[in-house]
Every structure is written in structure tokens, then in C-alpha cells.
């Protein structure tokens, strides 16, 4: 059974927002609204010309292995489907916003066109046909690599095995599945990453595998 995740070569991002446009088109996201299913977070730093930097962090739902948004949902509207994708059943959502409070990544929003809370679904309808998400297919600089963590031959696993990465808000214990690849320029990485902990896939693999196996009984048929 697949376990979908994404690696982000965020250093390649040029903030063109083609991913956001593709997402709005693919998933019929409400127009005019900023920062809904996917977005690009921006952090600047440095004080002199020698050390100034601007980091773009393309982001979306982390489809956490242990997703707090699923735990808190009182109606079961938030649930896991095959592939470990976290989804919302719009017909069951009461918009109590508990999931929005529980999500450490600000990944959920109220979609007024659907009268429900919504979020990224890893384009779960699309990946069966095209093998990847709309945002990763559209990106002109190949920031996103979507794939199956349980397939050792996938581009995603190969990338994770060869590069160091970090995850967002690791201390919250949610086991997020967006892996941000550490820039290959060590000096630049050191200067622009703050206090983030970096990891290798060999350290993470067993932990993620075990947690995923424990959760699989909850995954519903897509």
C-alpha cells in the first residue's frame, strides 16, 4: 500500500505561484483568496549585502502520519484515505474549526463555496491517473518531488536517501510528510536555516514506517 509524501527543493522556488494557479484550477479552490490549499511562505534575513537572503518555503498540508486534525474532528469529517492522505468529507463538516486550531501548519481554511473546511488532498483524484500532483507537475523549477515512501525505487525515496532534509515543527510530534531538502551549499544552509534540526532518511525511515503501520488500519478506501 502506498504512503504518499513530498520532498521540496525549496531553494529552487522563484515565487512564481504557478503551483497555486494549478491547484486552484485542479481543485476548484475559491478564487481571490490567498494562502489556501498551497502557498509560498517567505522569510528574509541578514543585515548586510554579504549575508542578506530571502527564503521561499512552498508549503501545504503535511499529511502528517499522526495528524492532530483527524483526532480532534467531532464528526469524522477529517479522515485518512489510502496512501496516508488526510482528507475532509465536506458533507460531514460542521465548521467547528477544531481542526484549524489543531493543525500546527495553518494548512486548513474555510472554503465558502463548499461550506466546509478544506485543505490540500495531494490531488488524490489526479495521482491515480497522472502519478503526481498538479503543483508538482506545474512547477517550472522542479521544487516538488511527489512519490511513495514505501517504493524504494521512487524518485522521492532516492532523493531522501541522498540528501539531508528537515521537517516543519518536528517537536509537535505529528510526523509531517513534507521533507524540505537542505541546500547543498553548506555555508548558505547554516546561515539561513535558523535552529532547525536536519536529518537523514536512514534515521527517519524506521520511525515513520512503524508509525505508518500503526495508522494504516484507519485509512479508508479512497
Amino acid at each position: 500500500m502506498a504512503n504518499y509524501a513530498m520532498a521540496l527543493e525549496y531553494q529552487n522556488c522563484i515565487d512564481c505561484r504557478a503551483c497555486e494557479v494549478a491547484c486552484k484550477d485542479e481543485n476548484e479552490v475559491m478564487l481571490g483568496a490567498d494562502k489556501q490549499r498551497i502557498w509560498v511562505g517567505i522569510v528574509e534575513g541578514g543585515e548586510t549585502l554579504a549575508d542578506v537572503f530571502l527564503n521561499f518555503y512552498p508549503s501545504q498540508c503535511n499529511h502528517c502520519v499522526d495528524a492532530p486534525c483527524v483526532t480532534v474532528c467531532p464528526t469524522g469529517a477529517s479522515h485518512f484515505v489510502e496512501g496516508g492522505i488526510v482528507k475532509v468529507d465536506y458533507d460531514m463538516c460542521i465548521i467547528c474549526k477544531g481542526c484549524m486550531e489543531a493543525c500546527p501548519y495553518d494548512a486548513r481554511f474555510v472554503d465558502e463555496t463548499r461550506h466546509a473546511v478544506d485543505k490540500c488532498t495531494f490531488c488524490d483524484g489526479r495521482i491515480q491517473e497522472y502519478g503526481t500532483t498538479a503543483c508538482s507537475a506545474t512547477c517550472p523549477t522542479k521544487v516538488r518531488t511527489f512519490g511513495d515512501l514505501e517504493d524504494p525505487n521512487s524518485d522521492l525515496v532516492k532523493l531522501l536517501e541522498n540528501r539531508e532534509f528537515f521537517v516543519l515543527k518536528e517537536d509537535e510530534g505529528t510526523m509531517p510528510k513534507l521533507f524540505y531538502l537542505v541546500p547543498q551549499d553548506k555555508e548558505y544552509a547554516k546561515r539561513t536555516l535558523g535552529d532547525v534540526k536536519t536529518h537523514k532518511w536512514s534515521e527517519f525511515k524506521a520511525k515513520y514506517q512503524q508509525a505508518t503501520d500503526e495508522q494504516k488500519s484507519q485509512w479508508k478506501k479512497a
Binding site: D15, K24, D25, E28, V29, M30, L31, G32, A33, D34, K35, V40, G41, I42, V43, E44, G45, L54, N55, Y57, S59, P68, T71, V72, C73, P74, T75, G76, A77, D91, M92, C93, I94, I95, C96, K97, G98, M100, E101, A102, C103, P104, Y105, D106, R108, F109, V110, E112, T113, H115, A116, F166, L168, K169, E172, G173, L193, G194, D195, V196
Partner: protein
């Protein structure tokens, strides 16, 4: 003075009240005014949720080249969404829970704690307890129902609530509210029934069991409220406070004491046991202020420093927090030390206002550290290179005017419920001569 007539129904003496007297009594008029204010907010929010124009890409494709009316509609929606989104959008991502949840916690915890304290007073055979129990429990349940009106207003799509019954989620704190309230509210009414019933023998037989069960159910209620907030893992204010349910119980009890003192001045002033009631409430208030004060000192030392620093300074929540500390704790403590009726009343008003700010500081404070601060040490992220100068180190969105109107309406709901119950069942008078 006209002699009052009663109808006996299931052991209850129901007062025969003239409909005009019932509907046009002064407390009912106050309730109507507050409800009318709330109604403006409810209508506006209903309109905002269900009748505003929103459009997605699919809609644009559907109307392109088609019906001119549909095109006009899509154009209008786009204009609204692009240029007026801040006004149109009801729920802000940075702060999903706001003043509705503050009001819910304020009224519900205050009301539940009042019921809890009355049960404790009964258990320990306090002299005035049997005389005031029915009135104060009715006041407490009216507060709780006002709070529940507030949370019902917060839900964007309450029509789907039946899924809570069809698809139980016992791991969710919010789902646990369903079985809890299904038991809690009828149980409280049963307690009140036994307090005001004229079947004295039966009431006496069940009194002890009911009181103990009531205390247990109240503690379970606060425990589940603690779980509800504890499950929000990234909001460290809500997860770091030790034994959150005890904190809720103590702070709720403080609101309850303030409310009970004000209630006594308004509704029990002519009773012979008024002085005793105020004296007990005054001492309870002093003890609770000390306990809550100790809790706050502990909280400042154990809660994530990022939250503490923003709540105590450097954010708009700081003014709520310090208003609570000064008006809700320090000033009432001084005023309740004296036996002066006026100072006691002012102290109670301070507690009522101050603990409302405390609930605000708790709810808005939970959200105050921006979730956009994703990479440690890098600060919050902007959402556009043109926004960089706008990035704030805190997340705070003040409540809309309509939200404020609705919470005023919720107070009206509480007053309305209490007044009807009081008029029909004479909860203030029925046990004037009752003793343990």
C-alpha cells in the same frame, strides 16, 4: 397583596402567571433588548455564510460564454472576493476561534461551576444552601445555555451535527461534549426539580445521591473541557497549563461567585438570608482569588516562554490579560476584604468583567503565536514579498461588530431562560423556609 395560585404538575408547583406579566416583566424586557441586538448579528452572519457570492475556477469555466446573468454573478463574486475579502471572510486562518468561544467558555464554565459550588454547599450542609440552591442552580443552567447558544453560533454548518451521532469519535474532546451535555443538562434540571418539588419525602431520599452525582458529573465536564483544549498540540498556552481542567474549574468558580453576588443583590436582597449568602460568597471569592492567583503565577513559569512573552506584553492580548489581573483579581480581592455591601458589589462586578477578559486572553492568547512561524529561529513567514513589512510576531484579529452583537444576544438568551423558569417555578421563593 394578591395571593398567588399554583397548578400542581408532577409534584411541581407551577405558578399561574398572567401571560402579559410573564412576557413584559422588566427582566424579560432587558432580555428582549439584548436578543434584538443579537438578532442583528445572527441575521448578518447567516447572510454572510449562505448568501454571499463566492466563486471558484469551476464556476468561471461553467459561465464563460454562457448566460449573461451567470457571468454577472461570477463577476460580482470575483470583485467581492478580490477587493473585499477582508470584510467578507468570516473565519480567519490565523485565529479560528474567537469571541464566540470566549463567550462560550465564560458563560458555560461560570454556570457549571456555580452548579458545582451549590452542590458542594449542599454536601457540606451550609446553612443558606437549601434556601438559595434552586435559584442559583437555575441561574447557573441559564448561563450555561447562553454559552451554548454562543458556540452554536460559531459553527458554520451546524446542520451536519447529526454525524456526531451516526459516526462517534470518542477520541475527540469536542465529540465527548455530545454525550456529556446529553446527560449534564437533563441531570441539572432533575437536580433543580428535586430542589423545588413538593414531594419532599422523595426529594430528601434522593438528595444525597443527586448531590454527589452532580459533583462527579461537573468534574467530568471540566475534565472533558480540558481534553478539548489539550488536544490542540501547537497551541502551547492550552497544552502547557498544568491540570487544565482544574484551572477551568477554579476560574469558572470565580466567575460564578461574581455572578452569584450580583444575582443576590438583584434578586435576593429582601430575603432574611441575604446577609449570610453574601458573607459566604465573599469568603468563597477571596479564597478563589488566592487560588487563581497562585495558578497564574505557576502558569507564567511553566507555559512556553513564547506565549508568556506575547500575553504579558508585546501583543494586543496583553491588555486583556492585565485587565483580568487588575480588575478581575487584585481590585476584587481588596474590595472583598471589607464587609461593606457596596464594595462587595463592586468587587463582584470587577470579577464578572475581569474574568470575561481572562477568557478572552485565554482564547486569543492560545492563537497569539503565529502558526506561520514554521522554522525555529526564522520568525513568522510572510505570504508575498510585498507583505514582508506587514509581518507581525503575533496573530490577533479583533472580533467583528456582528460577533460582539451576537455575544450580547447570548446574554439575553440566559436572562430569558432564567426569567421564564423563575416566573413559572418561583425558584427564588420556593425554599425560603427550607433547612437541612
Amino acid at each position: 397583596m394578591q395571593r398567588e395560585e399554583f397548578i400542581d404538575c408532577c409534584g411541581l408547583n407551577i405558578r399561574k402567571v398572567n401571560l402579559v406579566d410573564l412576557l413584559l416583566s422588566p427582566p424579560m424586557l432587558v432580555a428582549y433588548i439584548l436578543l434584538a441586538i443579537g438578532l442583528i448579528g445572527w441575521i448578518e452572519i447567516y447572510h454572510l455564510r449562505f448568501f454571499h457570492h463566492f466563486v471558484n475556477n469551476g464556476d468561471v469555466i461553467k459561465v464563460a460564454g454562457g448566460d449573461p446573468e451567470a457571468l454577472k454573478e461570477a463577476g460580482y463574486a470575483l470583485k467581492e472576493q478580490i477587493f473585499g475579502l477582508k470584510e467578507v471572510e468570516e473565519v480567519n486562518k490565523a485565529e479560528p476561534w474567537g469571541i464566540f468561544v470566549s463567550q462560550y467558555t465564560y458563560l458555560l464554565y461560570g454556570g457549571s461551576a456555580l452548579i458545582f459550588m451549590v452542590a458542594l454547599a449542599e454536601l457540606f450542609h451550609l446553612k443558606v444552601a437549601p434556601k438559595v440552591a434552586a435559584a442559583l442552580m437555575t441561574f447557573g443552567i441559564a448561563m450555561a445555555l447562553g454559552g451554548m447558544t454562543s458556540i452554536a453560533s460559531d459553527w458554520g454548518n451546524p446542520l451536519n451535527i447529526f454525524w456526531m451521532i451516526l459516526n462517534p469519535q470518542p477520541q475527540s474532546g469536542m465529540w465527548l461534549m455530545l454525550p456529556l451535555y446529553s446527560i449534564y443538562i437533563p441531570f441539572t434540571f432533575i437536580e433543580i426539580y428535586f430542589l423545588i418539588t413538593n414531594k419532599r419525602e422523595m426529594a430528601r431520599k434522593f438528595a444525597g445521591v443527586l448531590v454527589i452525582l452532580g459533583i462527579i458529573i461537573d468534574i467530568i465536564e471540566f475534565f472533558i473541557q480540558g481534553i478539548l483544549f489539550n488536544l490542540n498540540t501547537p497551541r502551547h498556552l492550552w497544552t502547557d497549563i498544568p491540570l487544565l481542567f482544574v484551572y477551568f474549574l477554579l476560574t469558572g468558580a470565580l466567575t460564578a461567585v461574581g455572578g452569584a453576588i450580583l444575582f443576590s443583590f438583584l434578586a435576593l436582597k429582601n430575603k432574611p438570608y441575604f446577609a449570610d449568602t453574601i458573607s459566604i460568597l465573599r469568603k468563597a471569592g477571596l479564597a478563589l482569588i488566592v487560588l487563581v492567583g497562585i495558578y497564574e503565577v505557576i502558569n507564567l513559569n511553566v507555559v512556553d516562554p513564547k506565549w508568556v512573552s506575547l500575553i504579558t506584553g508585546n501583543s494586543p492580548v496583553a491588555s486583556m490579560y492585565w485587565t483580568y489581573i487588575i480588575i478581575g483579581l487584585v481590585v476584587p480581592f481588596i474590595f472583598l476584604l471589607f464587609r461593606s455591601r457596596l464594595l462587595n458589589l463592586l468587587g463582584a462586578l470587577g470579577i464578572i468583567v475581569g474574568t470575561f477578559f481572562m477568557r478572552q486572553a485565554f482564547i486569543y492568547g492560545g492563537n497569539i503565536v503565529p502558526m506561520t512561524e514554521r522554522v525555529p529561529g526564522m520568525g513568522p513567514q510572510a505570504n508575498g514579498i510585498y507583505d514582508l513589512a506587514e509581518v507581525k510576531p503575533f496573530a490577533y484579529v479583533p472580533p467583528h461588530a456582528m460577533e460582539v452583537l451576537i455575544i450580547i444576544g447570548c446574554v439575553g438568551v440566559g436572562i430569558l431562560i432564567y426569567t421564564i423558569l423563575d416566573k413559572l417555578f418561583a425558584v427564588r421563593d420556593v425554599n425560603d423556609h427550607a433547612d437541612h
